[in-house]
Amino acid sequence: MLRDILPDFLNKAISFLKYDDLCEIRLRLKKPISVNYKNSYYFLGYGGLCNETDAIICSKEMIQTIISKASNFSVYAVNDELKEGYLSAGDGIRIGLTGTVVMQDDKVLTTKDFNSLNIRIPHQIFGSAYKISKIIFDENQNVYSTMIIGAPGVGKTTILRDLAVQINKIRKDINILLLDERMEISSPYEGVATLNVGTSTDIICGGKKDFNIINGIRSMAPNVIIVDEIGSKRDISAIEYATNSGVSIVASVHSKDIFEFQKKVEFENIVKSRVFKRYVVLSANEGKGTIENIYDEYMKPVLRFI
């Protein structure tokens, strides 16, 4: 729960806001605290939203308290997450963090002296992927490999979560393997998903995506793998392995639009080899999860959508 990780006064300040409209809390050391509320940024004061002068100024203690509480008072235990610059805080809440990166022999040991936190609060929006689900099935009712493209914060994770639900609604005999590396899609608590990700969905939490894709195929024999935020060459090799094994992939990637995505060198081969049959571009133009366009494997807009 969000209130379990925040200092008391911050909980009080947040209590003036509607939880469902709260998307982010941003804390920057010695700067006013701001929130993303109803898709706009505001400053946060002791009595809720306010102007800059009345905003609560973030202190080092606040940051430390949040990290300490989010790690269940065991910061050492979340070192692998800290190295990657985030912290999973349960209930799907993910805390992005910046600080001093400690390196040794070109290897990141940890991050310390944290100076900024971005607390991202997930919201399950049932039906948010309904439109997408209509165009990702082929004539035999098999799922097309689909790439969800969007800039950070446009609702890619929410769409992926709902896609798992929608796919299960359309075909109950499809086994989905959800790779929840950062535990923000299913928001597991003691191994059990706290958010709805469909009835035929198996979840692998944590670990590395490439490893989980290959092992997940061997161990769980899924029809569809859903994976968030792919980007490394290893992820892409694993995706190629999966599609060559007859498994459909539904993945998301950070990119502003289809043109920016096409410029990414890592994805050059899979675009050429038409691994993905659908590319869905999201934006926040008309609220989070706005579908800007849907393209087929030849990068042509899908007529059914238009």
């Binding site: 379990d4 200092p7 008391d8 430390q64 308290t65 300490s68 509480k69 790690s71 269940n72 008072f73 065991s74 910061v75 050492y76 235990a77 070192n79 800290l82 400690v102 040991l109 940890t110 991050t111 310390k112």
Partner: protein, 166 residues
């Protein structure tokens, strides 16, 4: 007859007090032995399993007053309220009588635990193991010196009281 009974009672009470005072040193030594044991245990737990703090508080049990202290501090964490180092010092005061220096170190140790990253945490624990090892040997020396002394003093005072009252 009554006088003899009073004298014997006085002697026994004084000797008992001497023995009781002596056990304080024993208790203190056991407390620090358990403290070092706890630190060594959590160091290996953190190194190999990265076990979370609350689970470690539950996992290791002790016979000395350190168990009471550990449980009271665990309660502080479970309540999930913000607390400072003074709160820990207050708990120590309620649990055992120790020197201010030792109390500060102990409070600092409990306050810092779990608040820093993996490598820093292991280094800190190693530092505290060394620090409490030193305190432990100091307390042991004092115990070896003071325990027989307190016992003897109890008996001697008892005898002296009897002589005076006769």
């Amino acid at each position: 007859m009554i006088k003899i009974a009073i004298l014997i009672s006085l002697f026994l009470a004084s000797t008992y007090l001497g023995f009781q005072t002596a056990t304080v040193y024993d208790e203190k030594l056991k407390f620090y032995q358990d403290c070092t044991k706890f630190l060594k245990n959590i160091k290996s737990e953190i190194s190999f399993f990265k076990t979370d703090l609350i689970s470690m508080f539950d996992k290791f049990k002790f016979q000395s007053k350190f168990e009471t202290l550990k449980n009271s501090i665990k309660d502080l964490y479970i309540q999930n309220k913000e607390f400072n180092i003074q709160d820990i010092k207050n708990i120590i005061d309620k649990t055992i009588i120790i020197d201010d220096d030792e109390k500060n170190k102990l409070a600092q140790m409990f306050f810092e635990i779990g608040k820093i990253g993996y490598y820093e945490q292991l280094e800190k624990i190693s530092y505290y193991i060394q620090a409490f090892d030193e305190i432990e040997s100091r307390v042991e020396q004092k115990k070896n010196k003071m325990m027989p002394f307190c016992k003897k003093m109890g008996a001697i005072i008892g005898v002296l009281l009897c002589i005076i009252l006769i």
